[in-house]
Symmetry: C2
């Protein structure tokens, strides 16, 4: 039901859109799959339905979702079921570059950073 942190600095609607991008690219959401309704998501997280609608709307504009009138939003059929690993990696690239820059500013040894990340990736 989406991982949303209302306290985060990142806007809620963008948290949802970006999560959709990744979950669809990664194949955890498959083409045709029906998403939870805006009211369900909003009720569950105690946020405004329009905030969810805005996220869904942007995802539709982006071609990620499709409107099924009267039924709700579904993962777009045009989506190739799972993006190639290179395509998925590209979605992570900006974050990787930021991380590398910050690590350099902190004068942290590369292998220490890699070890820590490796542990986090195992969980």
């Amino acid at each position: 039901m989406f991982a949303i942190q209302p306290t985060s600095a990142e806007p809620i609607y963008r948290q949802i859109v970006e999560q959709l991008r990744r979950l669809i690219a990664g194949g955890q959401l498959v083409a045709g799959e029906l998403l939870p309704s805006v009211r369900d998501v909003a009720g569950f997280h105690a946020i405004n339905p329009m905030t969810v609608s805005r996220a869904y709307g942007m995802a539709e504009t982006e071609g990620l979702l499709e409107r099924l009138r009267g039924k709700g939003m579904a993962v777009a059929a045009t989506t190739r079921s799972t993006a190639t690993q290179a395509q998925r990696m590209a979605l992570l690239e900006p974050q990787l570059q930021d991380l590398a820059r910050h690590a350099r500013e902190l004068e942290l040894p590369g292998d220490a950073v890699l070890r820590r990340l490796g542990r986090l990736l195992e969980e």
Copy 2:
């Protein structure tokens, strides 16, 4: 002279503060070192001097910087010259956790992510 991206979603003043945190923790800015004046930084990046002043002011409140009246801002003397590696790693932890979560949503193999990051860290 600070790495500032005026187009970024992150506010300019916060980019500066966070960069100061890391550069000081990492030891690239040493206690007593004089920072460039607000007018210099503002002129160089074509931003408002008050935006830089705001960042400096927050850094001073945080204990990172000291006001030297008539001279400018300097790295606070109270700063232990370089934070321990564990302390510096802690500053990177939130970003590492976000990255791990996103990689998982993308269903990316951990070692592929680690390899890419490793390459970025070498540069």
